[in-house]
Assembly symmetry: C2
Homo-oligomer: 504 residues x 2
């Protein structure tokens, strides 16, 4: 069986390899050889060759070609609505009425939707979502974000430190870009977990920042050990100016939820090594394991007090850990990925750096207004007693509990498959099962000059229509192989099961 | 009088100068001294210190402070809705129904809005605007953009060459970024007009690309002369690898509309000098002068034929001019600035460069879905006979003819003011009057280390509440002074008139 698969894969791989090796036309002023080398070399596996092939297959199915599957399952990306999750009525009524305020007159629009929309429109130029907003976002929405954070952490938040963006991806990229310094004596380095969400590796590549990799420990449920952080920074120090550490909590693709103690250790480590912390907390509402709890880096840092406490007077040289925390409407119960909205909260950051950041983002004028309004609906939901509250509660609870259920089902189901093992899915939206591959398949992949799990993922797509992301796209320990898929569909598991049997 | 103004300005300027000169805290890991130097040095005058001061004044007014004006007039930016322009019902009904499809059931939603929304939702994952779209945009919307271009130019357009983005600003920045090459033996240079829209200078700065400035000739209504292009490139050639030319047509801030002959000359110049053309055509629907007509660079290039014709076989070494043309929903009759949507059409561009571009933008996943839908409503309006057609025609005609009227009124009114002259406003949305400043004011500005027209603009704001952008923010010939303001408000002219009298 495996030989047939390998034969098929040769054709598939050749098709993709051609993308990177075929001769570029030197006749072009701007060609593949002289274009931005950092963009040329960057990779973004979540939308990489397997996904592009998935799109082709989808076209082929549409055009009537016969396959062994009838549709493509896009398990490569945490895209809830694409998988059939229903939008939250509260969010959508607000978006619709803000777009076309005539609808505010409809009798069946609840009163709290009306007051919510009216408050936001009063803060928009000409009371229209068509006006540019301020570069950092609509003021009342930034205030609502600050309130949300205060309620979450029980700690003060200043709306002046909230910068709204077209999705958390843009926010993270904007902060990383601030570190790029081509005039620095040593290349600036940023610590990232392995496995990581490839936005980090792609953006570091683009900004010519060095990736300082620290490995998560799969044997201890993708735990983060300080010894490993120490190893990584000590090895990097002589060559790079290591300035920041990215932590993804809950983990993507690894689904672990950091303990409070672990977060404390990371903050102490960052403090000791003078590192700025980028806390990717976009899955903060997606905690599935009843024994896990989400703690924000900000809360833990503030509660640690002492050296870590915020300072008012920038002339005081007490060192305080600088932090950017990210939030997104794409995750949580919202799943509003297409709308592109998120924010960064900046804590202890040099006010002059914040000024420069706002200046930089002002060149793209503002984040999209409707995205900002969706963000508002997410951070400022109806309160108990409000007319929209019951429906909101029912919809959000149903989504979150269904995710919780699927998280444990998926993990059990994967673990039951031969040649697959899967760590507990404590949070976020993905499973990252480890796969054992036959030596023959590994060797064949090597001769094709592709990663063995890319080989596996591409073949699984061709055989079953399931689109996943190979572990090599996130990074993994040498000699281990994984794939990441979202936890949404059990259909996926059935197909995967069948494919596993075929492979053996 | 001028002395009182100067006294006041000293305080104002000191406040702003402090932004760039005050000591940054070296205690921070990321501080103003070690942050990305290209972001530190970048300027974006359209949202620069005058605008920031305008926002402060607005807060002061809100908090009850007494000024000689009761509101801030934001003439700094082409923000139609902020100035009271009404949104187009067709666009907004589509946005609202796409956000909350329940509204499609309402009897008073016209049938063409329903079919339009249904077609788009059918092309969205899970039929929801909450799903990520493809990186380059929703497929049917890219096809509608291609149709729009075909109808505009009478020439074939391929939707595979349309890349949708969060506004034309993002599209322009993405294309410019492709040229950045820190491994190039000579720094890569890009030709830009002076005056220019400062997105160009800011982005070139950020990407470490050299600005090769060509001056527009104010005496000939901001005309573009090939002699000046030759001068600019010849002076730059030895030091820089000049690879692209940006042309803004209709002009921003200069309001001229290029003749077809002028466009032909520019294309021949680009062809001769192997330059990629970035055609900023976002004001293509804003032509006010009855003797002017908009011609797209693509149409003119294709009709020139010969060496300029597109080639199918990239192995053929006939050189063809590479072109990116930009469109935006922020301009035209739409004025949907806050929604952030636009596209780039890429013509004759190396397919491998397009692949790399799509890979790069895939790291931010997709442009916001509702923006894409507003773009669709703009490029795919109702047809004669459709139920929404009459209202759409009435609304769009009224907006465009009112702009046309204001363009000529504003130009006449400025020209009638003492010490101000204003070139004809043939297109776009701005006036860029030239101002004569008293020598005393120029000297005082010099001692304050600010540009004289920044001095003028800041003082006009403090005195009248009008927020403009100084000519120095766009670039201008040495010794000339200007300000840019949008053509929306006549109130602005009255205030400006009063201020001019006071200044003298």
């Amino acid at each position: 069986m495996i030989l047939v698969l390998i034969k098929k894969l040769e054709v598939t791989s050749a098709r993709y390899l051609s993308v990177t090796t075929r001769r570029s036309s030197m006749a072009h002023v701007l060609n593949y050889n002289n274009m931005n080398p950092h963009i040329r070399s960057m990779e973004f596996a979540v939308r990489g060759p397997i996904v592009i092939r998935g799109e082709q297959l989808e076209h082929e199915l549409k055009n009537g070609q016969i396959k062994s599957f009838s549709s493509i399952v896009r398990a490569n990306i945490g895209d809830a609505h694409d998988m059939g999750q229903k939008p939250i009525t509260w969010i959508r009524q607000i978006l619709a009425c803000a777009s076309f305020p005539e609808f505010l007159k409809l009798s069946y629009i609840p009163h709290d939707v009306k007051t919510h929309v009216e408050e936001i429109l009063a803060d928009c130029g000409g009371k229209s979502i068509g006006a540019y907003t301020k570069s950092a976002g609509i003021e009342c929405i930034r205030k609502h974000c600050a309130n949300y954070i205060m309620e979450r952490d029980g700690i003060q938040a200043d709306y002046n430190n909230i910068i709204i963006s077209n999705g958390a991806s843009e926010a993270i990229r904007n902060i990383l870009k601030l570190f790029a310094n081509d005039q620095s004596p040593k290349q600036v380095g940023v610590m990232i977990p392995i496995p990581q969400y490839p936005l980090y590796s792609a953006s570091l590549n683009e900004f010519n920042l060095a990736q300082i990799k620290y490995y998560l420990d799969e044997e201890r449920n993708w735990g983060l050990s300080i010894d490993e952080l120490e190893r990584a920074i000590n090895e990097a120090k002589s060559k790079y100016d290591v300035k920041a550490i990215c932590v993804i909590n809950p983990g993507n693709p690894t689904a672990q939820v950091l303990t409070r103690q672990n977060i404390e250790e990371i903050i102490r480590f960052a403090h000791k090594n003078k590192l700025f912390i980028l806390a990717d907390e976009v899955y903060q509402k997606n905690i599935h394991d009843p024994n896990s709890k989400f703690f924000s880096f900000k809360k833990v840092m503030k509660e640690l007090g002492g050296d870590y406490k915020n300072y008012k007077d920038i002339s005081v040289l007490i060192y305080s850990v600088e932090l950017a925390s990210f939030f997104s409407v794409s995750k949580g119960y919202m799943g509003e990925c297409g709308i592109r909205s998120g924010y960064a909260e900046l804590v202890n950051v040099d006010p002059k750096v914040i000024e420069a950041l706002v200046k930089m983002i002002s060149a793209r004028l503002c984040a999209n207004s409707l995205g900002q309004i969706a963000l508002d609906a997410a951070v400022n939901p109806p309160k108990q007693g409000d007319p929209s509250y019951e429906q909101w509660l029912e919809e959000t609870t149903s989504i979150l509990s269904s995710m919780k259920e699927r998280a444990s089902l998926v993990q059990e189901a994967y673990s039951a498959l031969e040649g697959i093992s899967c760590s507990p899915i404590q949070g976020a939206m993905y499973a990252m099962p480890k796969i054992e591959l036959p030596i023959k398949a590994i060797k064949k992949a090597q001769t094709l000059n592709v990663q063995p799990d890319f080989f596996y993922g591409m073949q699984m797509l061709e055989e079953t229509g399931i689109c996943t992301v190979p572990g090599s796209g996130f990074g993994q320990r040498e000699g281990t192989y994984h794939f990441r898929c979202k936890i949404f569909l059990l259909l996926l598991l059935k197909k995967c099961n069948k494919y596993q049997k075929k492979l053996r």
